[in-house]
């Protein structure tokens, strides 16, 4: 790391030309002339001589926070931060949200390398310091490096103490855009297989690294310039909990939330993400959300209709979950024929995989690892090569929408259906 020494030199050069002390201008230091820890040293100085510029002799060093705030003599951490910051040029603003602004940027050393710079705003209403969703997103993206997970290139702070997340630039929108645009976008089983393959690898990687994503849905699946799908928005993610530590059940956007969370389970596993993955698969086929409840209660009802009613028979222990309610009528588990009639384009194996992701009992639900081993991937049609996947213009605007959103929240008409807040108090 000889770069540290270079940094040291830059620093010294800078110090030589920078004013060391900025004259106090603000009222901040009023009344702050507390007894100085340097009293002795200062009085020694007083007996010596006045300073070279003829300022009158005082008896103590007056603390000056404003001067420190403006100081250009950087400590090592600040130098490292400056170095990160200088690697990127921030360009035009792509969008402005309540949570963050998004800018286009590029690498100074190679202007062809575009990045998206997400500048997280200081939330004045949030009096608890740095926002937990920003902390979660940074924490997990720093650790996860995978072709199907959005890359966090760097994080730096600007002088005004805003966080800047330098993210991979993904100009082609998200999967939701493609699903919804039934007018212009046509895709088939091979395309679905390709997208699902990338999503499954992403979630496998998260789970392999002991991270739960907890907000999988089509508009968190962004599309890179080369067609690669990237899982984004880790604002609700967390590491696997120890068995004795409960977690909050109020996560995952409602339409993609599994029954165990709707029943208030406080101990759960990667199976929660798998349910969401299954619903993304279903949605890719029918091009509309498969189980779209308008309340948590309605969501459970719709799950009963779509999949079957959870009972002690098909899910031992379900009745002990906190929010479990007895259904009026028990709808038997849907059989293969039912799924074939709706999702037949996936073929027998595809339907089999879908059914395994939508197992009511999370213990019987397929794992990400076993999903990757499933036969479906090897059957015809082969997944489309990523460069041949359908795409849509106008993706840049969508990327901006996706990035500036507060994690775990959609800010369009679907907002009301989302796990907006985590219940931290209850999580203790």
């Amino acid at each position: 790391m000889e770069s540290y020494s270079r940094r040291g030199q830059t620093h010294r050069r800078k110090m030589a030309v920078s004013p060391l002390i900025v004259p106090p201008t603000s009222a901040l230091q009023n009344g702050r002339a507390v007894s100085s820890p340097l009293k002795n040293a200062a009085s020694n100085a007083a007996s010596a001589q006045a300073s070279s510029n003829g300022t009158p002799v005082a008896t103590q060093v007056v603390p000056n926070a404003a001067a420190a705030a403006q100081s250009t003599s950087l400590d090592l951490a600040e130098q490292l931060n400056e170095e990160e910051k200088r690697k990127y040029a921030k360009g035009k603003k792509l969008g402005e949200g309540t949570y963050a602004n998004v800018y286009l940027g590029f690498l100074r050393s190679d202007p062809n390398q575009l990045v998206a710079i997400k500048k997280i705003k200081i939330n004045k209403e949030f009096t608890e310091g740095m926002a937990p969703d920003a902390v979660r997103e940074i924490k997990h993206l720093q650790e996860l490096s995978h072709p199907n997970i959005i890359t966090l290139h760097s994080v730096f702070s600007s002088k005004d103490q805003n966080l800047n997340l330098v993210l991979e630039y993904l100009p082609r929108g998200d999967l939701e855009m493609l699903i919804r645009d039934t007018e212009n976008i046509r895709y088939g089983a091979a395309d679905i297989k390709a997208w699902m393959g990338m999503l499954t690898r992403a979630i496998w990687f998260c789970h392999e690294n002991f991270v739960l994503h907890r907000d999988i849905k089509p508009n968190n699946l962004l599309i890179a310039a080369d067609g690669e799908v990237k899982l984004a928005d880790f604002g609700l993610a967390r590491s696997f909990s120890d068995p004795y530590r409960p977690m909050t059940s109020n996560v995952i956007t409602r339409w993609y939330r599994p029954p165990e969370l709707l029943f208030g389970a406080r101990h759960y596993s990667g199976a929660v993400d798998i349910w969401s993955v299954g619903l993304v698969l279903a949605e890719l086929v029918i091009r509309t959300p498969y189980i779209a409840g308008n309340s948590e209660f309605n969501q459970v009802e719709l799950i009963c209709q779509a999949v079957g009613t959870p009972t002690e028979d098909n899910w031992p222990g379900v009745t002990t979950l906190p929010n479990y309610t007895n259904a009026k009528e028990v709808i038997p588990l849907r059989g293969r024929d039912h799924y074939m009639s709706l999702f037949g384009t996936l073929g027998v194996e595809g339907v089999d995989l879908l059914m395994k992701t939508l197992s009511l009992d999370p213990k019987k639900r397929i794992t990400a690892r076993d999903m990757l081993k499933h036969d479906w991937w090897h059957k015809d049609p082969r997944p489309t090569r990523k460069q041949d996947l359908p795409n849509k213009s106008g993706g840049q605007a969508k990327l901006t929408e996706d990035l500036k959103r507060r994690p775990g929240v959609v800010d369009d008409d679907r907002g009301s259906k989302v796990a907006r807040k985590l219940d931290f108090g209850a999580a203790k």
Binding site: R32, A41, A58, S71, D75, E78, P111, V135, S158
Partner: protein, 355 residues
């Protein structure tokens, strides 16, 4: 990402927070001397200039004080009854922060509180700031939050710390599976190793030099050498003796490091008068040489926010596109803006060619 080793090398703990001993030493020396230079300049420039300058802390002083404050931090974290991982995360945050900051620059007492609070946040164990501050008389929520941003920057925005606790549980399960040892021996070793892990690696540089499993093996070796040997024999079955010895050597080095701060030292830090006698003069020395402008972190934070607000005002007044660059200050910005304006005027795409 096949093996666990490959995965570990992707972690921020490895990428940003692992150093060779000599590198770590260089960093610390640089941090200390940089702080001394900056504070000297500050004191000389005050009116009247401070003369003679105080004695500054040496890197060795800083190391001793650092541990003193970590023990303090652990005590406060225990008082809050936080899980051991969160206690350890807070301690490691503190250790990492002071690799690139001097104790003379940022007051350690305040940082212990900020580290505990932020470790809770980073571990998803959310504590209301007011509830947190109320637990400690004499500390306000403002003070706890004042250094949060500086802390995050000092951590290089890496909030994930890998601990050896889970791997110890794994090793114990493995030993039970092997079935060569009686339960009493295993329970004793388990308890002892856990006690070591909650203290020794946090008071030494183990996290900077060793992986979590190496640290776990080091602690297990301290607790019961025979158990380590048995596990290694099993893990390296069918492999060369030299491969095994290579690992063993690393583990023994780690163990030697942990042994410098065994859990028994806890009480030495807490109440032995000997400790007070070494720490008292050091704390006194620190009081004399610390940065006068950063003693009050709340005021510092206010000033920083104030400054940011002024910058925003100036920005909205000028409505300059180039302001979004905002990376440097003073005359340099004008140069950059000028250059950019020229580029735009010439019709060049400032973001380079299309993709």
């Amino acid at each position: 990402m096949a093996t666990e080793d490959v995965r570990y090398r992707q972690s921020s703990q490895y990428r940003l927070w692992s150093f060779s001993p000599s590198h770590l030493q260089t960093l610390r020396e640089k941090t200390t001397s940089l702080a001394a230079t900056n504070i000297s300049n500050r004191l000389r420039a005050s009116s009247p200039p401070v003369d003679p300058l105080p004695d500054f802390l040496t890197p060795a002083d800083e190391a001793m004080l650092l541990n003193f404050y970590i023990v303090d931090l652990l005590r406060a974290a225990q008082f809050l009854e936080l899980p051991s991982e969160i206690q350890a995360t807070a301690a490691i945050f503190f250790r990492r922060f002071y690799v690139t900051h001097s104790l003379m620059t940022y007051p350690p007492r305040a940082l212990t509180m900020t580290c505990i609070f932020f470790a809770c946040k980073a571990e998803g164990y959310f504590y209301r700031i007011q509830k947190f501050a109320d637990k400690f008389p004499g500390i306000t929520s403002e003070e706890v939050l004042a250094a949060e941003y500086v802390l995050c920057q000092g951590l290089r925005f890496a909030f994930d710390v890998r601990h050896p606790y889970r791997s110890l549980e794994g090793a114990m399960m493995e030993l039970r599976r092997l079935g060569d040892f009686d339960e009493k021996r295993l329970v004793r070793a388990h308890g002892r190793a856990r006690d070591i892990l909650k203290f020794s690696p946090l008071l030494t540089d183990a996290y900077f030099h060793y992986t979590p499993s190496q640290i776990m093996f080091g602690a297990l070796a301290m607790a019961d050498e025979g158990l380590l040997q048995r596990l290694l024999r099993d893990a390296f079955a069918g492999q060369s003796e030299s491969a095994k010895n290579q690992v063993l050597e690393i583990v023994q080095n780690c163990r030697a490091m942990l042994e410098k701060e065994p859990p028994e030292r806890r009480t030495t830090y807490w109440d032995a008068s000997a400790s007070k006698e070494t720490m008292k003069p050091l704390n006194k020395k620190l009081k004399k040489c610390r940065d006068p402008d950063r003693v009050d972190l709340v005021a510092l934070q206010k000033a920083r926010r104030e400054q940011a607000l002024q910058k925003v005002k100036a920005k909205t007044a000028t409505k300059e596109d180039g302001d979004v660059f905002g990376t440097s200050n003073g005359a340099k910005i004008d140069d950059e803006r000028g250059a950019k304006r020229r580029r735009v005027a010439e019709g060049g795409d400032m973001f380079g060619p299309p993709m």
